[in-house]
């Protein structure tokens, strides 16, 4: 049955991927090829949209693949499948984690994990900046160029933020509107 197959595939993807949504893409791709659910071109398009729309990329991709393969019910079982391993594992470990996180050993462990998490977050900002600000050329003759609009909007948002610490949602909305306005100029 297609729904069961989708559920099991996405459950597997949720269970065996480390490192979040981006790390899932190859796993999803191999499941799709194995079951011949979608054409490769369609899958690439789906991943593109999954990255653009808000929310976890894993959920977006699972919903989209499920929907394209087997409609609304397919979307539902795929999304539940991809989220369920996380929820089950956390239900098992959270009690342990939250009960012992005041123990000096656990405190010491996290004291040295925190700078690494700070590094991961910093590096992810660099990575996103690199992929969205520097646009790769379409051919060898063309030089890669900077996305000037994004840089300018970033500066405007920085000035706004330094003046008034607005809610991130408001800053994102302002930035989106400014981006839209670049089209009118």
């Amino acid at each position: 049955m297609i729904y069961l197959e989708l559920f099991i595939s996405f459950f597997k993807i949720g269970l065996f991927s480390y490192g979040g949504g981006y790390a899932m893409i190859p796993l999803i791709s191999s499941e799709i090829v194995k079951h011949q659910w979608l054409a490769e071109a369609e899958f690439i398009k789906i991943i593109g949209i999954a990255q653009m729309t808000p929310g976890p990329i894993a959920v977006n991709a699972a919903t989209f693949v499920g929907y394209s393969t087997a409609g609304l019910l397919g979307a539902l079982v795929s999304t539940l499948g991809v989220a369920m391993p996380s929820v089950l594992i956390i239900m098992l470990i959270s009690k342990l984690f939250f009960e012992h996180n005041q123990h000096p050993l656990v405190k010491s462990i996290f004291k040295y994990i925190r700078p690494i998490i700070a590094g991961l977050v910093f590096a992810s900002a660099i990575m996103i900046a690199r992929t969205t600000i520097i646009v790769k050329a379409n051919s060898l003759d063309e030089m890669p160029y900077f996305q000037v609009e994004t840089i300018l909007i970033m500066l405007v948002i920085l000035v706004i933020y330094l003046k008034k610490k607005l809610h991130p949602i408001i800053l994102i909305t302002i930035a989106g509107l400014l981006g839209y306005m670049t089209m009118l100029i």
């Binding site: 979040g20 929907y67 010491s108 925190r114 700070a118 590094g119 977050v121 996103i128 991130p168 981006g179």
Partner: protein
Amino acid sequence: MNKYWALFITFFKIGSFTFGGGYAMIPLIEKEIVEKNNWMDHDEIIDIFAVSQSIPGAIAINTSTLVGYKIGGRIGALCATLGVILPSFCIIVIIATFFLKISESKEVEAVFLGINGAVILLIFFAARRMIISSVKSNLTIILFIMTVLIVTFTSISPIYLIILGGLIGALNYLVKKRKGAK
């Protein structure tokens, strides 16, 4: 307001405005969970983020489930997870049904020129807050710089770095304990 309902709504909001996966969620989580609702402090959020990356699955789902669990137990975990999933689910179903061409439209492209800029800045601000609260000693400075370099220039999985940090922390505790015992 009921705690479970508050969790659901908060994560629904976070899910609706997280552009670009797990990391982009951090500034929103800090604002909503730490600053607005005072459900946790900054360090607790970083620890939850560390656990989220160390277990399988989407980081955004792991983080939501853990925060929900901490605030409202098992039911809280479910409310937070459903909250963060629901906006994605609805938006994707709508796009898949009506606007398959949306990714190619000029308007959407232009809007993202702006959103990308804001997201980069917000993640940098989140990283800055984390650096201020966690990078203090020489060893933590080295761990931070090493992580940035390794993640930026190699494809080594972050999970190994997290394990390394944990081992250093455990070793440090044992050494201190032994010193204290003498």
